[in-house]
Symmetry: C2
Subunit: 229 residues, 2 copies
Amino acid sequence: MVPPADGPVWAVVLAAGAGRRYGPQPKQYEVLGDERVIDRSLAMARAAADHVVVVLAPGEQAEADALVESGAADVAVEGGAERSDSVRAALAVIDADAAVIVVHDAARPLASPELHQAVVAAVHAGADAAIPGLPVTDTIKRVGHDHHGEAVVVETLDRSELVTVQTPQAFRADVLRRAHAGGDDATDDAGLVESAGGTVVVVPGEATNVKITGPHDLAVATELLRALG
Amino acid sequence: MVPPADGPVWAVVLAAGAGRRYGPQPKQYEVLGDERVIDRSLAMARAAADHVVVVLAPGEQAEADALVESGAADVAVEGGAERSDSVRAALAVIDADAAVIVVHDAARPLASPELHQAVVAAVHAGADAAIPGLPVTDTIKRVGHDHHGEAVVVETLDRSELVTVQTPQAFRADVLRRAHAGGDDATDDAGLVESAGGTVVVVPGEATNVKITGPHDLAVATELLRALG
């Protein structure tokens, strides 16, 4: 594995989701502790990046201006219909000399600065990509359907080999650009790198790094934030 | 699939864990809302069962007496070193005419009465076993180690085929007895049934049916209990 050339680290914080599962207000604008989810996610991303790009939903110009004005983000761009459209919108504004690009979901505001730094360090050490993974604690089974259409278990997976994946995820800039050049619609950037034969290293994830997707999750995240001090 | 003979439904609530991951006090004795975790788990199990067996850690005689005295459990037995030892200890006291046996972890106090009833109904409808499964929302990857011993991704699983498994799990009594007759040490009763060629049906699980394993989980469960009303 060849380390990337020295150069700036860019963070991309994805906050373009309409968050319809959550409620009337997109989840990234809910308040967590004394700031909004998006504000905390941007601040954490800043810990390991020289430059921060925030990707917002179309029509969020006032929000974009405010985030850049306050210095929370260096650049704000408009996202697309799919997650990978949003990643590509960010790639379009990232300088050509970027060495490492970190992609993070704004819906994971509790990822620590140390986790952001750990994935960047693994790419600096030579990986094409580095992602946080947590051991799978629940039993995972593969399900099929019988001839009545009923869901039945096909097999139980060996969970000792499995990890559940989080963001932030760090990439060699050239590898992430190539992965997205195909225009594939991927919810999993690292998966694109794997498909292209790249080496994806797994660093220890954080149990507290929950994703805010449903109405209970904000209450959970608030509790975790309190517990984290 | 042949429905089980008519007969009583027995619930086994496993509360023998020392809970060392949690803290000084085993997790099942922590307070959740206005009762202990174990009390709520027993009450929920009662909703779908004619008889309830609680499995406690060795030396918990006073607790055993109190739970039987109050009617929370019909029988209390002493568990073993492994989960399957505890299941077998319960099987030893379950009447021969039992038709369906439900196995539930006391550490999942938020499983609803409806969920307990749903797994029992699926076995009554002809399945050898029925388990709650939730769609997998996170990306799951299989991890190996490279020649430096570093954790690297081997493959990304197709999560549309996967479920994460919960308890309560219901079994035809004869099927569960046969599955445990081999004396295997299994953390997954349904997996034993699958290995023996039995049909395991998946019913929709509950997002709120969290497992209390670590210190954050009790705070999370308290929030969820409040949200559930």
